[in-house]
Symmetry: C2
Subunit: 146 residues, 2 copies
DNA sequence: GCTGAAACGCTAATATC
DNA sequence: GATATTAGCGTTTCAGC
């Protein structure tokens, strides 16, 4: 990717609400030129969207956990992600190398909700689970250095 | 938290660049009232900031991994997060219950960079590591249902 | 692909209730 | 806390290069 686009992406990672005017000033381009570039980045799928970064505890999602998942029947076709996509507590689903097949990142209000969620995951996807509870999060969602 | 604030937060999770005018229309409040509420949410730390959601492969970060970390000396004071905060490849650091002490989420261009990063993590923090490589990511960064 | 300009819409501050 | 108002600023589009 081109250097100017990279610069723009980095600025939007740091502040997703930065104005095109300010992006222009920061990159030495005109407002229209930045605007065009951002739209191309969005069209090409480099920029997929924008979001607020929210304190999970403040929105009643105080319990975060990682759930490693393994199908009961390893020979069956594996459609685990689609089977789980409807559970909104699952923030992310990664297919991984290693002992298990997937790692899920989930957020729930508390332990009882985690218990419920685990049951729903097992029945919806036909998997066994291994859960790692997050105690605290020193940092998260840091913008990468490009 | 109040219902209106929750609604606003949800809308900003779905579109971090939504205008105050549109937030007002969506919530039935005036532009100024929404604006005030958003600023209070930011001040209170409920909304911590805004960011673009970017395709990691498009910005030369094609390899994602989870690294579980355990101090060599479990009796020493544990300042692992501070020791690692300077490594920009680390997107998140979670303290967890279980066999290991922390789970790190990292992104690098490729396997060689992961090897380098692991060495830097071990020497910087005095820890042993266990790495789980992400093969693909069916979904990630989904906004939670509030 | 970039610039510059004009129309339009949004933001942010003030005043009022 | 909410609304109304308004000046200033940002966004978006388009013509021109």
């Amino acid at each position: 990717m081109e250097e100017l686009d990279q610069r723009i992406v980095q600025l939007l990672l740091q502040d997703g609400r930065m104005s095109y005017t300010d992006l222009g000033k920061a990159t030495g381009l005109s407002t229209s030129a930045v605007h065009q570039r951002v739209r191309r980045l969005e069209q090409r799928g480099v920029v997929r969207g924008y979001t607020a970064i929210v304190d999970p505890e403040a929105v009643n999602l105080a319990l975060t956990a990682f759930i490693s998942v393994k199908p009961f029947d390893p020979s069956a076709p594996d459609d685990t992600p689609e089977r789980l996509v409807g559970l909104p507590e699952i923030e992310a689903c990664h297919s991984v190398a290693g002992d298990e097949n997937y790692i899920l990142k989930v957020r729930v209000p508390g332990p009882g909700d985690l218990e419920d969620l685990l049951a729903r995951i097992r029945t919806a996807a036909g998997v066994s689970t291994r859960t790692t509870v997050v105690l605290s999060t020193p940092y998260e969602a840091r913008p990468p250095k490009l």
